[in-house]
Each structure stands twice: as structure tokens, then as C-alpha cells.
């Protein structure tokens, strides 16, 4: 018969061996999860001060890099310290719009920079049958998106200054956009200058949302001129049909549509139809997923292998824009109230990540052209003006919702 003490020790050793295996298993599972599934989300600090500082620097980049004719440095390669050829009129309109948002938010330096951008755009209006559109000279096809973003800029300017100098231009642009919207609410993306007709089936991923947003803003500025009904038609199409008709599965992440719906919630007496809730929730989820993933990227070797490289500034910016605009929609719609807190968190995360990734004074190397890099966002040592545009708008949107919630 074994002594009692020995039996107890043996029992303890067996139990301890199992506990040891259990600890090892817990360590492997938790370690594996942390390493591959739930890496830390790097959301930085998005305080009112840091948001304002980053926005000021972005506005400064546009002021410093604006040409005499009102255009901006389009693309810059930090590696070879030289601009890259090219210009895009839709992005010109987008930058002008973003600067108007900044001026409206109290960044006074943006005003003069935007005015010069507006001046260039006014020199590039195409006269069509009963309308005008923003287009480069000799364009074979005129896209609707540029006119949408330019209209948004002009509406923001009108609301900010009370100046109605460009009302006629806005109505002409509105006529062009309205002519491209069919009864179903679909927006044709292109108008052909040779055939003098819209290009059939020329639906665009982004122009639909840009036109929708512009018309929603026009309705806010001119409530009696019929823009609201057209905007509502597009809204209904986007929220209930577009995903299937244009085959975007699970859905197209559309920050421009988010702007449009956010503006509609500012229309007096407007209530978002309940049938749009699914679309709003799905969009909020898709954008939330994007920033939860993107914020895990650090560009370290391990992060690069497991998460890929950090996205370009415009990519991060559009996510931040969408999150802040859907927050505005949720704030105005009691049924969607449960989205407010998580959307605000994600918008702050996008803004914080953007602030962390902006080139600050300490990031400028001796070999750098300070004017071209300070306040900008780079990927592969290249920045494009819409990197600054989208992140500036995202920062401003986040500032707006934080002010609204405080």
C-alpha cells in the first residue's frame, strides 16, 4: 500500500500537468488571436486641438501649392522631389469643395484659396443646351461628378457668405445634373459632346452620389426650385435598388451618398424613410469594418505581412468622411440612435489615424521640398491633392460631430 502522502503528491502532479497544458493552450489561443486576428487598432488622438492643427496644416498645403491660375500641385513624388504630370477636373472641384467646408468651419485661410479655385472652375464651364457643366476644354465626354462637387462648393460658399453672385451658375449646373437623372433615380455619368446626348448606361460608382449630394444641397439653398424631388428619387434608388441593379455586393462604400443623406436630414421637416435603414446600417458597418482593419496597419514588417500596407490618404479620408456623415444621419434619426456612439468612435479613429500619418515639421527631411510635403499624406512617397482633400473633409466632419455631441 502506497503511503497517503505519496498518493497526494502524485495526484497533485497529474492535476498540475493538466493545469500546465491548460495554461499553454490559453496562451496559444490568446497569443494567436492577438497576433493574427485582433491586432491593436492605432487610432491616435483626435482632440479638438489636434483635429484643428491637422486641418490647418492641410489648408496650408493647398495655400502653398496653389498655382497662379487657381489650380493646385496635382501629384508630387517625394522620392525624386518633383511633381508628376497630370490634372483632374473632378478632383479640382473636390478640393474647392473641401476648402469651402474648411472656410465654413472657421478656417479663414481657406477662403482666398477656395476663391481662386472657384475662379479657375468658372473659366472651365461648358455651355450645353440649357445648362452649363464643369469640363476641361475639348472634352469628348463631360462627367457629371465634377459639376456635382463644384455645385457643393458654391452652395457652401453661398451659405457661408450670404453672397448670391453665383446663383445663376448653380442653377445652370443643377439643370445639367437634373437632365442626367432618369425616372428611376439613376444618374448617368457622362454627356457626349459629339452626339450632344447623355451616354446611355454610363453609371458611375461615385458620380451618382456626387450628383445626389449636390442636388440635396441645391434644395437646401433653393427649396422651391424642384431639386428636392430629384434628390429624393436618387436617394430612393441608392438606398433600395442600386446594390442589385449595378451589382455591388455586399455594397459600394459610398461616402458621397453619405453626404447626400446627411444633407437631407437638414431639410426642414424631413424624416429619413424607414425603408432606408437597412442601407444606412449596412453602409455604416462597411465603413466601420474598413477603419477597424485599416487602423491595425502600421507598415511594420509583421503588419505588412498580416495586414498589408497602409492605404493612401484619399482612401483613409473617404472612410472618415463617410463615418462622420453617417453619424450626422444617425443623430437626426432616432431609430438609428444606437449607431451614434460606435460611428462617432470610428470617425474619431479615422481622424486620429490620419493625424498620426500626416507629415509634420518633425517628419520633413533635409532633402525634402518643405512646401510640397508639409501637411500632406504620402503613400509610396507620392501624394496627390485629393489625399489632402478627403482627409481635410474627414477631419472637419469629425470636428462637427464632436461639437454636436458635446
Amino acid at each position: 500500500m502506497r503511503p497517503k502522502l505519496t498518493r497526494r503528491r502524485s495526484r497533485r502532479r497529474t492535476a498540475i500537468a493538466l493545469v500546465g497544458r491548460g495554461v499553454l493552450m490559453w496562451g496559444l489561443v490568446l497569443g494567436g488571436l492577438r497576433a493574427f486576428v485582433v491586432q491593436a487598432e492605432q487610432c491616435g488622438e483626435s482632440t479638438p486641438e489636434s483635429l484643428s492643427g491637422a486641418s490647418t496644416a492641410a489648408v496650408g498645403w493647398f495655400a502653398t501649392n496653389q498655382n497662379a491660375d487657381g489650380t493646385w500641385l496635382y501629384r508630387y513624388d517625394r522620392d525624386v522631389e518633383a511633381p508628376v504630370e497630370g490634372y483632374n477636373i473632378t478632383r479640382h472641384a473636390g478640393v474647392t469643395m473641401s476648402l469651402e467646408q474648411a472656410a465654413s468651419a472657421g478656417f479663414d485661410a481657406a477662403d482666398a484659396v477656395s476663391e481662386r479655385g472657384i475662379g479657375w472652375a468658372l473659366d472651365n464651364l461648358f455651355d450645353g443646351p440649357g445648362w452649363r457643366a464643369l469640363a476641361l476644354p475639348d472634352s469628348a465626354e463631360i462627367g457629371s461628378g465634377a459639376s456635382g462637387l463644384f455645385t457643393a462648393a458654391l452652395v457652401y460658399r453661398r451659405e457661408r457668405t450670404g453672397d448670391n453672385e453665383y446663383d445663376a451658375v448653380m442653377h445652370d449646373l443643377g439643370a445639367f445634373m437634373t437632365s442626367l437623372v432618369n425616372d428611376r433615380g439613376q444618374v448617368l455619368g457622362q454627356w457626349n459632346t459629339a452626339t450632344e446626348a447623355p451616354v446611355p448606361e454610363s453609371f458611375s460608382k461615385y458620380y451618382t452620389g456626387e450628383v445626389f449630394w449636390a442636388l440635396a444641397l441645391l434644395h437646401r439653398a433653393f427649396p422651391d426650385d424642384g431639386y428636392g424631388a430629384v434628390a429624393e428619387r436618387i436617394a430612393h434608388y441608392i438606398a433600395t435598388e442600386r446594390t442589385e441593379v449595378e451589382m455591388f455586393e455586399p455594397d459600394l462604400p459610398d461616402h458621397w451618398a453619405a453626404y447626400g443623406f446627411a444633407v437631407m436630414t437638414t431639410w426642414p421637416g424631413y424624416e429619413l424613410p424607414a425603408e432606408y435603414d437597412y442601407y444606412v446600417r449596412r453602409q455604416a458597418g462597411i465603413q466601420g469594418m474598413q477603419i477597424r482593419y485599416e487602423s491595425q496597419r502600421t507598415n511594420s514588417t509583421f503588419s505588412y505581412v498580416t495586414r498589408g500596407r497602409q492605404t493612401l490618404g484619399a482612401g483613409l479620408g473617404t472612410v472618415g468622411e463617410a463615418l462622420s456623415q453617417w453619424t450626422i444621419v444617425a443623430l437626426a434619426t432616432p431609430r438609428l440612435g444606437d449607431l451614434v456612439a460606435p460611428l462617432t468612435d470610428r470617425a474619431r479613429c479615422a481622424a486620429g489615424a490620419a493625424i498620426d500619418r500626416q507629415v509634420g515639421p518633425d517628419d520633413v527631411a533635409d532633402a525634402d521640398d518643405v512646401d510640397a510635403v508639409l501637411g500632406a499624406w504620402f503613400q509610396f512617397d507620392v501624394t496627390q491633392m485629393d489625399d489632402q482633400q478627403h482627409i481635410l473633409s474627414a477631419l472637419l466632419g469629425t470636428m462637427a460631430i464632436l461639437e454636436d455631441r458635446s
Binding site: R11, R12, T14, A15, I16, L18, V19, R21, G22, V23, M25, W26, L28, V29, L30, L33, R34, V37, V38, A40, E41, Q42, C43, P250, R282, A284, G285, I286, Q287, G288, M289, R292, L339, P342, L343, D345, R346
Partner: protein
């Protein structure tokens, strides 16, 4: 996360049929210790879930994805395997190795953390209480501690795990 999915996630993570089978020869007093320990652990994990995630810079939907992966993988193993051996004699009144590591597996811990962070304290704790009562009640041995029921629990766990991954991915 839907509360039914949340409760099923905790319940299937505990793997009640297998645990009951493993504890069939354990004295009732030790089974009560194990059951009480399970509830206490669930309560503690649920209470620290949100501050823990904040400290680690993890959003609750991302942990839901991770917990869904763990639950689905664990449940696949649960479908395929069946442990009919009795555990070694316990120490500390059943705390080791009955409560830990036999009942408190990583799947239980991660799922309770994820469900608590997404749905609050109540659902995971109630699910843990139900599982604990079944584990403590020796009358359930023959009825529940059977392989077909473990396979059913595992199948539900796989479905719930996948649902958690999808829900976490599309959550804000």
C-alpha cells in the same frame, strides 16, 4: 449581436454534454465548486471585458470576429472528438483540474469576453448559469452527457461561430 446568438455562443463554448460526461464520477460537492467557479469566472470576465478591450486597443466587433473563429474551430473539433476518460483526481476541491482547465477553456474565455463587450453582462452570465446548473446536477448525466448531443452542440457552435464572424465584420 442578437441575444439568442450570444447566449448560444456561451452555451456551446462551455460544451455542456462533454463536460457532464467528463465529470460523471466526480463527487457532487466538487461539481458544485466547478459550477460556481464557471459562473464566477463568467461574471469576472464579463466585468473586465470593456476596460480590457480598451486597454488593448481592440474594438468589440473585432473581438467578436476572433471569438467566432475560435468557437467555430473548437466546435469542429467537438463534432469530431469525444473524451470518455475520467479526469485525474482533483486538488483544491475541484478547482484543478476540473474547473481549470477542463471547464474553463480558451473558447469559453474568449467567447464570454466578446459577448460581454458586445451585449453587456447579463446574457453571458445567464448562459453560464444555465450551463453551470446542468453541470452541477448529476441527474442530467445520462440525459445530456452523450456524444450525439455533443455533436449537436458542436454543429450549433460552428453555425454560431460563423454568424459571429459575419456579425462582427459588418458591425460598426
Amino acid at each position: 449581436m442578437n441575444w439568442i446568438v450570444a447566449a448560444l455562443a456561451v452555451f456551446t463554448a462551455v460544451d455542456v454534454p462533454q463536460r457532464i460526461r467528463q465529470l460523471r464520477a466526480v463527487p457532487p460537492r466538487e461539481r458544485v465548486v466547478v459550477a460556481a467557479g464557471l459562473v464566477a469566472a463568467a461574471l469576472a470576465l464579463a466585468a473586465v471585458a470593456t476596460p480590457l478591450l480598451d486597454g488593448l486597443d481592440i474594438s468589440s466587433p473585432n473581438l467578436e470576429i476572433g471569438a467566432g473563429v475560435v468557437l467555430a474551430l473548437y466546435s469542429v473539433l467537438a463534432i469530431a472528438r469525444w473524451d470518455d476518460t475520467a479526469p485525474p483526481p482533483s486538488v483544491a476541491g475541484g478547482v484543478a483540474p476540473l474547473l481549470f482547465p477542463i471547464v474553463l477553456t480558451p473558447a469559453v474565455g474568449v467567447v464570454v469576453l466578446a459577448v460581454s463587450a458586445r451585449n453587456g453582462l447579463l446574457v453571458p452570465v445567464i448562459a453560464a448559469v444555465v450551463a453551470a446548473v446542468l453541470i452541477a446536477w448529476s441527474g442530467a448525466d445520462n440525459a445530456i452527457g452523450r456524444r450525439p448531443l455533443r455533436m449537436l452542440s458542436g454543429a450549433i457552435g460552428v453555425v454560431v461561430g460563423i454568424a459571429m464572424v459575419v456579425d462582427g465584420a459588418f458591425a460598426v
